[in-house]
């Protein structure tokens, strides 16, 4: 794994916007000098590194599925701060194996040792467009004969094809609150892959979803019944919304992507459960729910935080924390291992899982120790 400088393509901004990255301006804090998409650098990996990472990702995913079963069998849902009333339906969703499409592991990796799991964005993962499309077209433009760890596009199409979906169109729901366009673009891309898989699709705003109190079903603006709903709206928000009880109750007759049981993966209590189940596993860092115990340095992560907010790093040298309003439902205490330093920048590997298989990589860099909304996405390629 190396970090290399490269010359941006002429007109790169127009190119990436035409390919769907409209939010590279809008989603990025304006005071930053560095653009969100930065092709003046890229990472290179050897094929062996990619093969190793791929198998580690698939092992982590398999361990995570084991953890869901474990949490349900041992009734550990309180550690995840799930509302009690929703628990039976979360369990039922898992027992039915309600179908899932995708997720993104965030990994600490420096090319020398095993990747370490930082979190699993298993419910509402983003940076999909830049991972699947933008860096792929960059590769084809800049290194036409090069290779990349990226089969996201066709894996998504294949996944839609194999899903056991009910009749009627699949609805893709974004929220009107998304001011950056990131969500609508991500959902637009997912919708595109579903269309290419032969599905009939409809876009709808979460706010416009209607509840038919007589028919006990959700409907769209045209009064069509919603049987398949692909959302980028976190389950913990949906559960707490006025329609939450209906949404949870209807899972038996609807397909939500991602499914309800992913509440047990997109929650950082997972990190502590994994460490309990697989202590000393090379891809895990020690993590606890009851405090930092004997960790020499640790990071406190809110169970349901987003974008690196509300975190606190505690080391013998001092503490560092990020702003945010998360943490009401509790924290996990994970060993702190600083992100590796490449020319003063710290990459986090976002490793994608489609279905149950590793499917690609997206890298974000920050100057600080916590990857937040100031990070930049940089492409990668595989070198012979």
């Amino acid at each position: 794994m190396r970090r290399e400088a490269s010359t941006p393509r002429d007109g790169w901004e127009e190119i990436i916007e035409s390919q769907g990255l409209a939010y590279h301006r809008s989603a990025h804090p304006v005071h930053l000098s560095r653009p969100y998409w930065d092709e003046s650098v890229h990472y290179t990996f050897t094929m062996q590194e990619v093969l190793d990472l791929e198998s580690q990702v698939e092992e982590l995913h398999a361990m995570c599925l084991e953890a869901v079963g474990h949490v349900i069998a041992r009734e550990r849902h309180r550690d995840f701060a799930l509302p009690e009333w929703a628990v039976p339906e979360v369990e039922a969703s898992w027992r039915r194996r309600d179908p899932h499409v995708y997720g993104r592991f965030d990994l600490r990796y420096d090319g020398t040792g095993p990747a370490k799991l930082l979190e699993y964005n298993a419910d509402t993962p983003t940076s999909l467009v830049e991972s699947s499309l933008i860096q792929w077209f960059w590769l084809k433009d800049v290194h036409p004969d090069g290779d990349q760890w990226n089969s996201l596009h066709e894996r998504l199409i294949d996944r839609w094809k194999e899903l056991p979906l009910q009749s009627g169109p699949a609805h893709f729901a974004w929220t009107n609150m998304d001011e950056t366009g990131e969500e609508v673009m991500t959902l637009g891309y997912l919708q595109e892959t579903a269309e290419q898989a032969g599905l009939r699709t409809v876009a709808v705003a979460m706010e416009d979803i209607g509840w038919d109190a007589r028919g006990l079903r959700f409907v769209d603006m045209e009064q069509r019944v919603i049987r398949t709903l692909c959302k980028l709206y976190p389950w913990e928000w949906a559960v707490a919304d006025p329609f939450g009880p209906q949404a949870v109750k209807q899972q038996i007759s609807m397909t939500w992507i991602e499914p309800l049981w992913k509440m047990l993966l997109s929650n950082k209590a997972l990190l502590a459960v994994l460490w309990e189940m697989y202590p000393g596993h090379p891809n895990l860092l020690p993590a606890y729910l009851d405090g930092p115990r004997d960790l020499p340095a640790h990071i406190e992560k809110p169970l349901l935080g987003r974008e690196g907010a509300s975190m606190r790093i505690v080391t013998p040298e001092g503490t560092e924390s990020t702003e945010g309003g998360y943490g009401a439902e509790g924290y996990v205490y994970q060993e702190f291992r600083a992100l590796p330093d490449f020319d003063g920048w710290r990459p986090v590997l976002g490793a994608w899982v489609i279905g149950d298989e590793a499917a690609g990589l997206g890298i974000r860099e920050t100057s600080g120790l916590i990857t937040d909304d100031s990070s930049s996405f940089v492409p990668h390629r595989i070198i012979p």
Binding site: G181, G188, Q196, A205, W237
Partner: protein, 146 residues
Amino acid sequence: MANPEPDPALPPHRLAQGAASQQGKPPGKGKGWSSSAITLGTMGLLSTLVIGFCAAQDTFADRVTADCVDLNSRQGDGSYQVVDDDRCDDHYHGSHGAYGWYYGGARAAGRVLRGTTIRPANAHISARSGTVIQRGGFGGRGSGGS
């Protein structure tokens, strides 16, 4: 903007045309690492839609009532016979084309008039009879990607 779906009649995106020559190739088999060919049908179009996206949100949109009507029942005064909402449902198995939603009409004696069969843009629509469609039960929290 109610719906970012592209117009299917539009020609393929120029990127899609570039990729078209690769379409005959089989996709990566088994454990392939990389995409063999990507066609982009709508992403560029979506991208331009996003620019105007926020401006077009309809927080203060009108509320419009809808009635399911028998479209063949139009009389001289322009009124339609109101029928059960189920007949306008997507999964009604009767003669589906004969029924449709009628928006913003005035009800009188089982008929409805002075409305339109064209769905108003930027309006929250609720059916009048029996079916109670509540909306707005999701959302209002910000963007949820992670």
